[in-house]
């Protein structure tokens, strides 16, 4: 009976789209802000961390190297101060001193020599043939003569091997030209101090002099051009006075590296720590990668949730709108039935009085016919038959108006606790005989533990009887099955009366509960039975519905509330 039209697809699609967009905006905004903040914070944190780490290493190693050089210089200075010129120029004594130094410090000192004021080496102890060597033109000699002590850059010199000179100038007490005690520092020993410094996978250290020349060995595959080394000094190699500098720069191959520079040897040398940026910031890249993966996974989850949510909401809206439409339809139906009830009550009252008068007048004629005057009339029997017919039809009219009123009246039926399965059994037993003649089988099926409900027993019996009689009438020619089920659906008892009859065409379904609407032949039905059922069930706070299809039978479904009997609805 209930055909609900709520399939307003464009509307639901718009609502669904708006919900999806709102959900995505609300969800994505904090996710993006959070991810952005995480990326920014991690970038700042890792930059600071890497910078601090490299700067710390640079400072530590600068101090170590400075201490190394100072110690070597102090070694030589001590020798020059504590040994006489004669002792030092005695080559056998000088060899012993070198041996002692090597025993004490390892192969740091590769040789020792005394150079007079003219640049001639007058005593030598070491593995090379440098006795009598002339250093008058060597840059280190000139520097050493003009300073009390001196540490040279690394150079090849006469021996053809990289080394640097530590020299102390002494002035004889008795006057004369000064002389120099010099020691060659083994390059390998010095280089180890620097080369052993490794940072991450690609970080290493090296030392440059003012001209940009490497003072230590470094990894050949990352060697920079001389110009780049010079640039590291800043302002054309005029010396570095800033304690530590940190910067990032691409080399000639385009690879970005981090550089930390620190001055050594009073700014004559520059300690450089170099590490490829990708290596230095590996942890940062990892963190950023995780953040991006989280963003992607979060986005996928949000989009999926949004789509599911919007679909669920759309389905819910659709269902609620359908329920609302159904409720509206029921309200309209109830209103229609209430109006019909009022109308029926009016008709019943207005018809009944004239019918009563007609019946009484007919009765009066009957009374008069009893007199002797009419006893001989040829038509007496016909008069009596006609009067009886008037009386019969009058009583029929009364019955019809009574039915109308029972549909329309404000019921004062007494309610009691009724066990619905027992009640149905009673009604079925009353109909059994009739069913047998009509070749109809009635089957019942009840759910376990059906609760007793507070209803008018006679009214429910009337409803059940009506539905069973209708089903039997529908199957009078063919016979068939009436299946009666009673079950519990949350707080309602559901009674279904299904038949295997010919079914009801859809055009009739919408009017089936209207008073006087009948498909039975004239004189066979008043069209009030289902109207009365409708009125009774509605007054009980329940509802009655019908489903039917031609050729597939008809099912009436009654929902009755299990709670206390609801207040009677006025107007029905």
């Amino acid at each position: 009976m209930q055909v609900i039209h709520t399939d307003n697809r464009p509307h639901y699609a718009t609502v669904s789209r708006k919900i999806l967009i709102t959900f995505l905006v609300v969800s994505f905004l904090p996710l993006l802000v959070m991810t952005g903040s995480l990326l920014y914070q991690s970038h700042a944190f890792f930059h600071e961390k890497v910078k601090n780490q490299i700067e710390y290493l640079a400072k530590i190693h600068t101090l170590n190297i400075d201490a190394f050089l100072r110690e070597r210089l102090n070694n030589i200075r001590f020798l020059a101060a504590t040994r006489s010129y004669e002792e030092l120029t005695d080559e056998s004594g000088l060899r012993r001193i070198l041996q002692r130094l090597q025993e004490e410090y390892g192969p740091v000192f590769s040789d020792l020599g005394i150079v007079d004021g003219n640049g001639r080496q007058i005593a030598y102890a070491g593995p090379f043939r440098l006795e009598g060597a002339d250093y008058s033109q060597a840059p280190w000699f000139k520097e050493a003569m003009s300073n009390p002590d001196y540490v040279s850059d690394v150079f090849m010199g006469l021996r053809g091997l990289p080394h640097f000179i530590v020299a102390v100038r002494r002035q004889p007490r008795r006057g004369g030209r000064p002389w120099i005690l010099r020691a060659a520092i083994d390059f390998r020993s010095f280089n180890d101090v620097v080369e052993n410094l490794r940072i991450g996978k690609t970080g290493f250290a090296f030392i440059l002099n003012r001209q940009g020349a490497l003072q230590t060995e470094t990894l050949a595959d990352v060697k920079l051009a001389k110009a780049s080394y010079m640039a590291l000094f800043g302002r054309g190699g005029t010396g570095v006075r800033e304690p530590v500098r940190f910067f990032e720069r691409s080399d000639l191959t385009g690879i970005k590296s981090l550089y930390v520079t620190a001055p050594l040897k009073n700014g004559d040398w520059l300690m450089v720590l170099q590490q490829i940026s990708a290596d230095a910031f590996g942890d940062l890249r990892k963190t950023q990668g995780i953040a991006l993966i989280n963003l992607i996974l979060g986005s996928v989850a949000i989009i999926a949730s949004g789509v599911v949510l919007s679909r669920l909401v759309k389905a819910r809206l659709l269902r609620e709108d359908r329920e609302k439409a159904m409720m509206n339809q029921q309200i309209v139906e109830s209103g229609k039935m209430a109006s019909l009830g009022e109308l029926a009550a009016g008709i019943a009252h207005e018809i009944n009085n004239p019918v009563a008068i007609m019946v009484e007048e007919a009765g009066w004629i009957g009374d008069l016919l009893e007199e002797e005057t009419f006893q001989d009339s040829d038509n007496l029997a016909e008069f009596k038959r006609a009067l009886k017919q008037i009386n019969t039809q009058g009583i029929r009219c009364r019955d019809i108006t009574q039915k109308l009123l029972s549909f329309a009246r404000k019921s004062e039926s007494r309610t009691s606790l009724v066990q619905i399965d027992q009640l149905i059994d009673e009604v079925v037993s009353l109909s059994t005989q009739h069913a047998r003649y009509a070749n109809v089988l009635i089957e019942t099926r009840y759910a376990q533990d059906l609760p007793a409900i507070e209803v008018s027993q006679t009214e429910i019996q009337q409803v059940m009887m009506n539905l069973i009689n209708n089903a039997m009438d529908a199957m009078a020619k063919t016979g068939g099955l009436i299946q009666i089920d009673a079950s519990l659906d949350r707080d309602h008892i559901v009674i279904e009366v299904a038949d295997t009859g010919p079914g009801i065409p859809e055009t009739h379904l919408s009017r089936i509960f209207d008073p006087f609407y009948t498909t039975k032949p004239v004189g066979k039905g008043t069209g009030l039975g289902l109207s009365i059922c409708y009125g009774i069930i509605s007054r009980m706070g329940g509802r009655i519905q019908v489903k039917s299809a031609v050729g597939a039978g008809t099912t009436f479904t009654i929902h009755l509330p299990c709670a206390e009997a609801p207040p009677h609805q006025p107007g029905l």
Binding site: N353, A356, M358, V359, E360, D367
Partner: protein
């Protein structure tokens, strides 16, 4: 001598006339009134003669239930049968609660109608008899 004196109260005069004729033919004495007020006046005017009142429930002005209450208040011995064109259970029960003897539905079968009127008249007479006996007993008791 009539079987009983009946007062019919109904706003439908055609119905009153038909019923009056039929009841009189069956040897009842019948008075008629077209409203509750008129009926009450008639009962008063007839003294103690009205035994049974057949009263329509739905009437303009003073309706059947109100009239019943007034009759029972002023003339408690008069038996009332409610007559209704729309036999609702509640109006019938309402009438019975307020002291009506029984109720009938329109159109009524004349034999059923007269049977109920006679039963009401007998009840009325039995009550009168009880009252007379009670009075006699009281007088006898006083003399003793």
């Amino acid at each position: 001598m009539s079987k009983a004196t009946v007062l019919l109260i109904d706003d439908e005069t055609a119905f009153l006339e038909a019923m009056k004729r039929r009841l009189e033919r069956r040897e009842f004495h019948v008075e008629t009134a077209t409203g509750g007020m008129q009926g009450l006046e008639l009962i008063e005017a007839c003294g103690n003669r009205i035994e049974v009142v057949v009263l329509d429930v739905k009437m303009p002005g003073m309706d059947g239930i109100e009239t019943l209450c007034e009759i029972k208040r002023k003339f408690p011995l008069v038996e009332v049968i409610m007559l209704t064109g729309h036999a609702t259970v509640d109006s019938a029960i309402e009438g019975m609660k307020r002291g009506a003897f029984d109720y009938l539905m329109k159109p009524a079968d004349i034999d059923g109608f007269t049977a109920k009127v006679l039963a009401a008249a007998e009840k009325r007479q039995a009550q009168e008899q009880k009252i007379v006996e009670a009075r006699m007993k009281a007088i006898t008791h006083r003399r003793a």
